[in-house]
């Protein structure tokens, strides 16, 4: 009944939207962003809502009907061109959909507006190619040519490019109204995360943790195109946390702690939550004695001025490259009879964390990955790894798992360097009260190479040189899974496995179906409770982008982009897989 009413209302409003030009569609206001879930037909924010639930309220596609899902339309994008270190671009975009118009990006930063109202094809309304300097930016991108999507603001589109720029675009025409240089590839900074817009400020951060940057978050005032604020993720002298950089040589100035995934936001607390990347150099922890705050952490920050409210560090003095940039979904739950506002995180280090989002205190944590060997658990009071020793400047964790100057070849440890879960987003179904974590199940070892200093600190390393202090070494196959976990305890309730690590992330829906894509092009639907596979389609091209759902003219669609770049060696059975750059949409 409820769904029929919604569908009826949708049909009327979408017919109206069809009659109007996109310029006359309602402006994207702060109020609409806060209430994004009240527009189930649209996918207005990067993570669907500010809480990063990636949960569509649409339910025409459900556990009974999903078997009838068929392809509605597909469209080819550009962006597969080579540049810098990469033989092709990569598609990791989460599409935004507003009133039958879809906004997608390719890895080199072109933005495409697609009219998807017909339900049978995507008409390209416009394309804005920012003319990214591919060689320059692509040479300092650590892990592929990426652009994870756009944001909407008023009657404009906000986008970014790998070469460090942010753009404001006319939503109707695709005209670039202004651009602002935010990141500086000359020092290894690139931008890949979709911006988070809160009121009139677009927040983004810098990737480059493998190139000796000092990470930051930056607010752009969208009314003026000028900087509103900038906050470094590594505290400077006099700021709390600076004392955790004990080298005495100002190594914090090249200490990494990058940001490359869109934060979550709580309007009531007016706080955003952002995951922060690994310390640099990644694999030479002796270079940077101390806990290295706020690398491998979450920061709670004010969107108006960028002030840090609190931080929580997952892996102090991280020797494993357990970069914790991925999303931090917000949930409210009753714990021991008390209503709690929580921030959660499926961490790259293999543990699932639950924190109080008002103050950052540790609530719960549990291993979600099959095999975790670098720590034996988390301290139930502090959330610190049990082997963490605050008296040590260079952490050892479980013996042998760290590569360091005393022992440059580490033993095999799990999860792998790329983590139990990397950037690919989780999803949360509030009806079933389940969090879905996409995982990579496997192990590797590390090889330390003593890192030289940057030239500005008396060494030999130039800006834009890699600054990793070693590398990872494969140790067997890495497979993957989708895991349904209790969002408060982290207890795993169901698992769906596949032969590759998951790099697409998950979509949850009110039809109690979840969707995920895989490297071999399999796009699968699972029962939200049991994770039993209900439907699959092979796109013929690997999927590394998160699926979304929207409706137009009262009909529900599911969309996913396909177009992979393989970091490192391809899985042997995908050896001859070519890349592509496509968007696929399915309907009943």
């Amino acid at each position: 009944m409820q769904s029929k009413r919604i569908a009826g209302g949708l049909a009327v409003s979408l017919l109206l939207a069809t009659a109007l030009s996109t310029a006359q569609a309602a402006d994207m206001t702060f109020d609409r962003a806060v209430n994004a879930d009240k527009e189930p037909q649209n996918w207005l924010l990067h993570h669907k809502n500010y809480s990063a639930h990636r949960f569509s309220q649409l339910k025409d596609i459900n556990t009974s009907t999903v078997k009838n899902l068929r392809m509605a339309w597909t469209v080819a994008l550009s962006g597969y061109q080579s540049g810098g270190r990469y033989e092709s671009g990569n598609l990791e975009v989460t599409p935004i959909v507003e009133n039958g118009v879809m906004y997608v990006t390719d890895g080199w930063g072109s933005v495409y507006a697609l009219d998807v109202k017909s339900g049978r094809k995507a008409d390209m309304l416009w394309k804005m190619d920012p003319g990214t300097d591919r060689a320059w930016a692509g040479d300092v991108a650590c892990c592929g040519v990426n652009n994870r999507g756009v944001a909407l603001w008023k009657d404009k589109v906000v986008s970014i490019a790998l070469d460090g720029r942010i753009f404001l675009i006319n939503k109707e025409t695709g005209e670039m109204l202004w651009e602002r240089k935010v990141g500086e590839p000359a020092v290894g900074e690139t931008i890949t995360a979709a911006p988070l817009v809160v009121r009139d400020v677009a927040i983004t951060g810098s990737a480059g943790g493998e190139f000796g940057i000092r990470g930051w978050l930056d607010g752009t005032d969208l009314n003026t195109g000028k900087q509103a604020w900038r906050t470094f993720t590594i505290p400077g002298p006099g700021e709390p946390g600076h004392e955790t950089w004990k080298d005495g040589k100002n190594h914090y100035l090249h200490g990494g702690a990058s940001v490359w995934v869109t934060p979550t936001y709580d309007p009531e607390l007016d706080t955003f939550y952002v995951g922060v990347g690994n310390a640099g150099p990644d694999y030479d922890p002796d270079f940077r004695p101390g806990d290295n705050k706020w690398a491998a952490s979450v920061l709670a920050m004010a969107p108006g001025d960028g002030k840090i409210k609190w931080g929580f560090q997952y892996t102090p003095n991280d020797p494993y490259d357990y970069d914790e940039i991925s999303e931090h979904p917000l949930i409210d739950a009753k714990i021991n009879g008390q209503d709690r506002k929580l921030v959660t995180h499926g961490a790259r280090n293999g543990f699932y964390y639950v924190l109080d989002r008002a103050n950052g205190s540790f609530v719960a944590g549990k291993q979600y990955i099959d095999k975790l060997t670098w720590a034996t658990g988390l301290d139930p009071k502090t959330g610190m790894p049990l082997e963490y020793d605050p008296k040590l400047d260079v952490q050892q964790y479980v013996k042998g798992t760290v590569a360091n100057r005393a022992r440059p070849n580490g033993d095999v440890k799990c999860p792998t360097t790329t983590g139990g879960k990397n950037w690919e987003p989780s999803a949360y179904n509030p009806d079933l009260n389940l969090m879905y974590l996409p995982t990579a199940e496997g192990c590797n070892s590390l090889v330390m190479q003593a890192q030289a200093d940057f030239k500005d600190q008396g060494g030999t390393v130039n800006p834009r040189d890699r600054f990793t202090g070693g590398s990872g070494k494969p140790a067997g196959d890495v497979t993957g899974a989708i895991k349904a976990v209790d969002p408060v305890t982290g207890e795993t309730r169901a698992t769906a496995r596949w032969k590759y690590p998951n790099w697409s992330g998950v979509l949850a829906t009110a039809g109690n179906v979840i969707f995920a894509g895989w490297l071999d092009g399999e796009f699968k639907a699972y029962d939200g409770k049991t994770l039993e596979e209900l439907w699959a389609f092979n796109t013929g091209c690997g999927i590394k982008a998160p699926p979304i759902s929207y409706s137009v003219n009262g009909k529900q669609y599911v969309t996913v982009a396909a177009g992979p770049f393989f970091l490192g060696t391809k899985p042997p059975d995908l050896k001859n897989a070519a890349t592509c750059s496509m968007v696929y949409t399915f309907t009943l």
């Binding site: 080579s82 270190r85 000359a186 493998e210 130039n462 040189d465 070693g470 060696t569 042997p572």
Partner: protein
């Protein structure tokens, strides 16, 4: 095959003798039009198809990180023949991949097979290369990288990336 490698070795040796003090991008007087064409072809493979630069860096100065600890090619002590063998067969126990599709199916590489090596088998390259492609990439490395200092110059950079990018400004 062997003949080709022998020819290449001789050509590279001759080349090395004649260009040791020449600027990097300036073709040696002994480079024929056919040589230059093969060197350009090798550069393209190094840059894009085999993507050697991902691990070894665009100038072959070596690098570290997600590609593994990749050795500097500019200071390699390998002969051309050994270099070709390394591209073809990879390096056992390291991240250097093999580019000959049949490398460890028979004993053509280091007189061993995948079965004998087990986990020490080098990784498979993302793109296999034919013998003429391996020869070209080796020729490029020996003509434009090996023996020309530990890092590429501004001119080397322009030769590799072209003039339209900011990529080379830092080397001015």
């Amino acid at each position: 095959m062997k003949k080709l490698y022998g020819f290449m070795f001789a050509a590279a040796a001759a080349f090395a003798l004649t260009v040791s003090s020449a600027s990097a991008q300036t073709p040696a007087p002994t480079e024929s039009a056919a040589d230059l064409r093969e060197i350009e072809y090798g550069k393209d493979i190094f840059k894009t198809k085999a993507n050697c630069q991902f691990c070894h860096k665009w100038d072959g100065s070596g690098d570290q990180g997600y590609g593994g600890n990749a050795l500097p090619l500019r200071t390699t002590e390998l002969t051309l023949e050994q270099f070709v063998e390394t591209v073809k067969c990879g390096r056992i126990g390291t991240g250097m991949p093999y580019h000959d599709r049949f490398a460890y199916n028979d004993k053509r590489c280091y007189d061993t097979t995948r079965e004998e090596l087990g986990n020490d088998t080098p990784p498979i390259a993302n793109e296999y290369l034919q013998p003429r492609e391996i020869a070209a990439v080796a020729k490029y490395v020996f003509a434009r990288q090996k023996g020309r200092g530990v890092k590429g110059s501004y001119e080397d950079c322009l030769d590799f990336w072209g003039k339209e990018s900011k990529q080379c400004e830092q080397f001015k």
